[in-house]
Point group: C2
Chain length 203, copies 2
């Protein structure tokens, strides 16, 4: 049996996915756990639950809390934060691009795009903003867009979203340990890595 890895499931429109994306690689190194970056779309899963908007907009008290909480988390983690004018934003193109990239490129692009949205307040629904994040990750925007928008890659994103649903994911970020144990939320990231480390030590 191989070592238990952590699958990090994230959605670009998800606010709490931002601080998670910025620190998850460091946590994986500290706990010596393999990490898989898994972009997906939360929209179709929210639709299953009868929502056609973010729950943070549908439930205002929850939304007010979330923005204050995100501000606090970013301050604690020394991450820049600027509330974007529009929320939620359209993360479809970003998710397609992320999925079309591999390894370190995917990680670098993901962090760059989250930074655009939540540190610089840019709109990731705009192609230019996505192109800038591709370039920031050291990749070629034109070639990347071509792969990202290809039929197989579009299908791969739908498959990833279906997989998330079947694994019981209902929010982002989510962490799945050893292909099995689900932890939901930025504030449970540490628990996921502790679980993975314990599995790998045979505890």
């Amino acid at each position: 049996m191989g070592r238990a890895a952590v699958d990090f499931w994230y959605e670009f429109a998800s606010t709490y996915s931002y601080p998670a994306a910025m620190v998850v690689e460091e946590r994986a190194k500290i706990y010596e756990v393999d990490l898989n970056w898994r972009p997906f779309l939360l929209g179709p899963i929210f639709k299953d639950q009868g929502w056609d908007d973010s729950p943070f907009n549908i439930y205002p008290a929850k939304g007010r809390y979330m923005w204050r909480d995100l501000e606090r988390i970013c301050e604690t983690r020394a991450l820049p934060f600027r509330k974007p004018d529009r929320f939620p934003q359209n993360g479809l193109l970003g998710a397609r691009v992320a999925l079309s990239l591999e390894g370190r490129d995917r990680m670098m692009f993901t962090r760059a795009l989250f930074t655009s949205q939540f540190a610089h307040g840019r709109d990731i629904g705009e192609e230019q903003v996505v192109a800038d994040a591709i370039a920031a990750a050291g990749c070629d925007p034109a070639a990347t867009f071509e792969r990202a928008l290809s039929t197989p890659n579009r299908k791969a994103l739908r498959d990833a979203t279906d997989e998330a649903r079947h694994r019981g994911i209902f929010g982002a970020p989510s962490f799945i340990v050893g292909g099995q144990e689900l932890f939901w939320g930025h504030d449970r990231m540490e628990d996921a890595f502790i679980w993975a480390a314990a599995m790998n030590e045979g505890l």
Copy 2:
């Protein structure tokens, strides 16, 4: 200006309020922060959000996750756990009793009633179960019920629930630090005490 205290807002029907109630006093002692036990009713606040059942029943994926997560949390904290047959249970009588008790009596009763529900799987909607928890806290059930069911105490519980709503509370457990900073969820308890300790050190 006095020292910042932590207000611990809990609801007896709330699953995550159970582990919080069992460890919150210890956290307050460790961080040397004053703690106020604030029972309230989440039902009226959920009704404002259009829910007439627990979100863990309305959204099954979220519910499945919650039960597994609660089991894990209890295991980690060495708390006994048994999933009750009925969920959510009617916590009205329990909340009235908790509010009618003061200081250590309120804490002891609260922990006893949560233990009945989530460690022994009993139904706290039954008067006898509440009476047993009152006795376990060293109080007299008959005299306590009389105070708990009095008109002023019923009104005090409605007022507490209104206060929770006005303070932006939308779930339980919630922690309010220094009458101002809201933290939602069992998994943010530690953050609430860190915030309180920092306020008290003038950081």
